[in-house]
């Protein structure tokens, strides 16, 4: 099969397919052998790869032209959620379209980097200070709206995606350092705006034992799962942590803990390697890209993907606080798989259309 003509990138595709294959086994184990859930996961993967295939056919020039419209549409939907969103999972995140419910914040994960890349590509790099200010608003406003839903995880990813564009776009170091200083000063203020449970999660990071029945309990149990896996693991379906119900969310946010317990360090490193290959390939695509827009977008999407799995693995291994970020492709459930696969569609489009053009 000529992958090039289908606008698919071999390295990315094989890496994603291996992730998908591994995930089937882990979801089955993590969901306590729930065939229904496993099949559901399979169907989501099929949907995700279909979206990838479709998006990969869209030429980057068209994506660039669409960027502002996608962004505006995303903002409108986000406001709609705030206004008329139905209450799902205790938070206003979902828009009910009758047949399906979806999260507009998912669109923003793509729309924000697209918009910023489009915006920065409209002039010389590095961007002027006033342009940076405007660009900052373009990412901070939607990120803040998502944070207010409240969905800290997604807000973080949207903000991250935007920040990556600005950084890759050549935002000056002195600006970066000034901003970091400002953040350090503003941090106590932001602390006051966090929900109690979000604050608790950060606090327990420093001392998991302080709340062994609540948030800290999750961290400890996840670390026990990973650590007890050892080098070779306990074997598939043998995660005692998950099956004796010590591990929460064992098929969703904490699926990496189940995987590490069952497949050990060897398995963990294999998975880490696949994720690393994907990110490296994405960054290479950004390096090879021929114009500012595709460069910035490819770089930002790859780095967002990195942020995604790093935050998840960091939280499972106890080096980051618990934020509700699933492990991309592996975790069961959620609508994020479609967004992630669409992002890879964009990356593949950028890579393959360039080659054809040459």
């Amino acid at each position: 099969m000529d992958l090039q003509r289908l606008h698919l990138d071999r390295t990315l595709l094989y890496a994603l397919l291996s992730l998908a294959a591994i995930s089937m086994f882990v979801v089955y184990s993590g969901s306590a052998k729930d065939t229904g859930a496993t099949f559901g996961h399979f169907m989501r993967l099929v949907l995700g790869f279909t979206v990838l295939l479709v998006v990969a056919q869209i030429r980057p020039e068209i994506l660039e032209r669409w960027s502002p419209y996608v962004f505006v549409a995303g903002m409108v939907l986000l406001m709609a959620v705030l206004a008329i969103g139905v209450i799902g999972k205790g938070a206003q995140r979902w828009l009910d379209l009758g047949l399906i419910q979806f999260q507009p914040s998912e669109i923003m994960k793509l729309a924000v980097p697209m918009m910023l890349a489009w915006f920065l590509a409209r002039g010389n790099l590095p961007p002027s200070l006033s342009k940076l200010g405007l660009a900052f608003l373009l990412m901070a406003v939607p990120a803040f709206m998502i944070f207010k839903q409240p969905d800290l995880g997604t807000a973080l990813l949207v903000f991250g995606a935007g920040t990556f564009v600005l950084f890759l776009g050549g935002m000056r170091w002195r600006v970066i350092i000034t901003l970091l200083a400002a953040i350090a000063i503003a941090a106590p203020f932001a602390w006051g705006h966090l929900h109690d449970y979000q604050r608790q999660r950060v606090l327990t990071l420093f001392d998991p034992e302080s709340d062994p029945l609540g948030t800290g309990y999750h961290t400890i149990q996840a670390m026990i799962a990973v650590g007890s896996g050892g080098i070779y693991g306990k074997g598939w379906l043998n995660s005692s942590q998950a099956h004796l119900d010590y591990l929460p969310e064992s098929s969703t946010d904490f699926i990496f803990a189940v995987y590490s317990e069952e497949f050990g360090l060897l398995g963990s490193l294999l998975l880490l390697a696949i994720y690393a290959i994907i990110v490296a390939r994405g960054l290479l695509i950004a390096y090879l890209a021929k114009d500012t827009y595709t460069r910035l977008l490819a770089g930002s999407l790859s780095l967002t993907f990195f942020l995604y799995f790093f935050v998840n693995m960091g939280m499972v291994t106890g080096i980051l606080p618990i934020v509700g970020v699933p492990l991309p492709v592996m975790s069961y459930g959620g609508t994020s798989i479609v967004t992630i696969m669409a992002a890879f569609g964009i990356l593949m489009s950028i890579q393959t259309h360039r080659k054809i053009a040459e």
Partner: protein
């Protein structure tokens, strides 16, 4: 001179690549950090975690807090908890569910309904959670099960607190009930708060005060064996009981009102005008909430759902009725405010009214007409023609504006979730539905027919506004929440919801006197309950048409099937000098407000004011000539 900036591709790509290098280095460093962390956890500290995992027999087991009790104003228990033995299954630990169920049937009695409810839960709940199979085990069943428990894996015998409503259907429409947490609720609630909890408020006070009643889940750190069965308790964090709720409801009054309505469909609200405290909140027919607690079986539920009397509908909160002539109690005040319609203005009532340029006759309920009417007589005798003319003079939008401050057409702000707003029509409202407003609609709005819809709760609230010097209070069911242990009470502070603004304060007094004469003069439509009342009542009858009557036809109660008979309404407050209670009564298809609804209100007022259900007046009550 270079004044057009030309994109310097080379410089830009060099800048980008420099940044990419920085980013790549950071990514590499962070991946390395993850790598090292994994090596630390899985190789260096492996022993430590291996031991922890082996010893991970200490499990935090949630302990459910007792849910707060619900009491009436005199301490009568409306909702309580009583301990029951339950048989619960942890599906994850069961190898062959069907044969297990067969074996269990030998030990305890299991009927079809139990199994059905169990299988439903089995599909909806996580496999590692306890799922209820049977509740209310007898002592004998519990003992038999306890002896044989070790043979069964995944079977738990638990002592649980079960919600119970000792007065069964009494006040079910305000009290509501708890039920098992379902799938949608599972997504909505905070899982940590509800750990180990099986029930959640579904309706009424039970859901509206869920947070107060719930309490805080406690934990036991329990040592378990390899199969997860508890061996001993290591540590205990006690649950915090939910707060008890004292309602302003008087259970005796509630029972009296429910019994008086009897088999009829209807609603009664009794409220303290000065505070908004609700004394009785009746919707009939009622139903027993107890079967809902552990999941009512489909057949019983269908029976309730398909009952033609619709017991599940909360008529007091969500029933939408045309107010009929009870609206004259409020529009009469508008007439005084209207100036040209003031108290002195006399209008001839020939028994019908026509709009200029139209031959359509809007009839008065009294065919022969009332003669010359002023406001006092029009209210007392409930003359329709007078109010037709008032409506035409006011226009519909002004009527809406006048009635809104009474709480019509919007939420009253009662402390129950899901109240209906009713409807005050306006030209704009009709337009938004793509239709023009017809002048004839204005006419009938004046006597509370047409599009105008009110709930019984709104009627009572509005009547209380008349009694409370024009100030509208938010209706309140809960008087205080009380800590179950310390007895520390948090009283509900009465809240103002708004106020009607009058040109002259005396107008309110004039209208109240008119309403008094409805009850206490022999021309008044409610004289039947007023002639022997030992205190002064202000009230207004109403009869709301259910079925349209064609031009030229007349309505006959006897000839009309029951479902199409008029609704009977009555609003009142008493004693007039110092109002203690405002009442709204609706009897569906009851016929006349004067004969069907007013006597119920009288009984309610007697109970509140005289402190007992007054003996029914001996002999036949005198019938007013104006029996609307």
């Amino acid at each position: 001179m270079l004044n057009i900036p030309i994109k310097d591709q080379f410089r830009e790509s060099r800048l980008f690549n420099a940044r990419l290098t920085v980013v790549g280095a950071v990514v590499l460093a962070l991946i390395l950090a993850l790598f090292l962390r994994l090596v630390y956890l899985q190789v260096i500290a492996h022993r430590h975690f291996e031991t922890l995992s082996q010893a991970n027999r200490v499990k935090p087991i949630p302990i459910q807090p007792p849910r707060g009790l619900v009491l009436d104003r005199n301490g009568v228990v409306l909702a309580q908890n009583y301990p029951v033995y339950t048989l619960e299954i942890i599906p994850e630990q069961v190898d062959d569910m069907n044969s297990l169920l067969e074996e269990l049937k030998q030990v305890v009695s299991l009927n079809e309904a139990d199994l059905k409810a169990f299988r439903k839960q089995l599909r909806e709940r996580p496999r590692f959670e306890n799922i209820l199979l049977r509740s209310n085990l007898t002592e004998e069943e519990a003992a038999r099960l306890a002896v044989r428990r070790t043979y069964f894996s995944g079977v738990e015998l638990e002592a649980r607190l079960q919600r119970h409503y000792p007065l069964a259907g009494l006040g079910v429409h305000f009290l509501g009930y708890v039920g098992r947490i379902n799938e949608q609720e599972l997504e909505r609630i905070d899982k940590a708060t509800y750990r180990g909890m099986q029930h959640i408020g579904k309706l009424g006070v039970e859901i509206s005060y869920e947070k107060t009643l719930l309490g805080q889940v406690g934990f036991e750190k329990v040592e378990t064996n390899a199969h997860g069965r508890s061996l001993r308790i290591l540590e205990r964090i006690a649950p915090v009981a939910g707060r008890n709720l004292t309602l302003s409801i008087d259970a005796k009054l509630q029972a009296l009102a429910e019994q008086t309505l009897g088999q009829r469909r209807g609603a009664v609200i009794a409220m303290e005008p000065a505070t908004g405290a609700i004394l009785a909140f009746v919707s009939t027919p009622t139903y027993d909430p107890n079967p809902f607690v552990n999941g009512i079986d489909q057949d019983s539920y269908n029976a309730l759902l398909n009952d033609p009397d619709k017991p599940l509908i909360n008529r007091a909160l969500n029933g939408l009725y045309a107010p009929g002539s009870t609206i004259k109690a409020f529009l009469g005040l508008a007439a005084l405010e209207q100036g040209e319609f003031g108290a002195g203005r006399a209008i001839p009532c020939p028994g019908w009214f026509t709009l200029p340029g139209s031959s359509h006759q809007f009839r008065d309920w009294k065919k022969t007409g009332h003669g010359i009417m002023n406001l006092h007589d029009a209210v007392v005798q409930s003359c329709d023609v007078y109010f037709y003319r008032l409506a035409v003079a006011m226009e519909v939008d002004a009527m809406k504006k006048f009635l809104e401050p009474f709480g019509f057409g919007g939420k009253t702000g009662v402390d129950l979730l899901g109240e209906s707003e009713g409807l005050l029509p306006s030209v704009a409202w009709k337009k938004s539905r793509g239709q023009p407003w017809y002048p004839g609609e204005t006419v009938i709005t004046g006597i509370g027919q047409g599009s105008v819809l009110v709930t019984p709760l709104q009627l009572a609230t509005a009547t209380a506004v008349l009694a409370n010097h024009g100030v509208r209070m938010k209706p309140r069911l809960v008087r205080a929440s009380v800590d179950a242990k310390t007895r520390e009470a948090r009283e509900t502070v009465p809240e103002t919801a708004g106020q009607i603004v009058l040109k002259k304060k005396e107008h309110l007094d004039i209208q109240i006197r008119n309403l008094m004469d409805v009850v206490h003069t022999n021309k008044g439509t409610a004289y039947g309950i007023g002639y022997n009342a030992p205190y002064k009542i202000a009230g207004k009858t109403g009869t709301a048409q259910v079925k349209g009557i064609a031009q030229g036809q007349s309505y006959s109660e006897k000839m009309t099937p029951e479902r199409f008979r008029d609704h009977a309404l009555f609003v009142s407050f008493a004693p007039v000098e110092d109002p203690k209670v405002a009442v709204a009564v609706i009897v569906e298809n009851g016929g006349h407000g004067s004969s069907a609804a007013a006597p119920i209100a009288r009984k309610v007022m007697d109970h509140v004011i005289l402190g007992k259900a007054a003996a029914t007046p001996g002999g036949a009550a005198p019938v007013s000539e104006n029996d609307e």
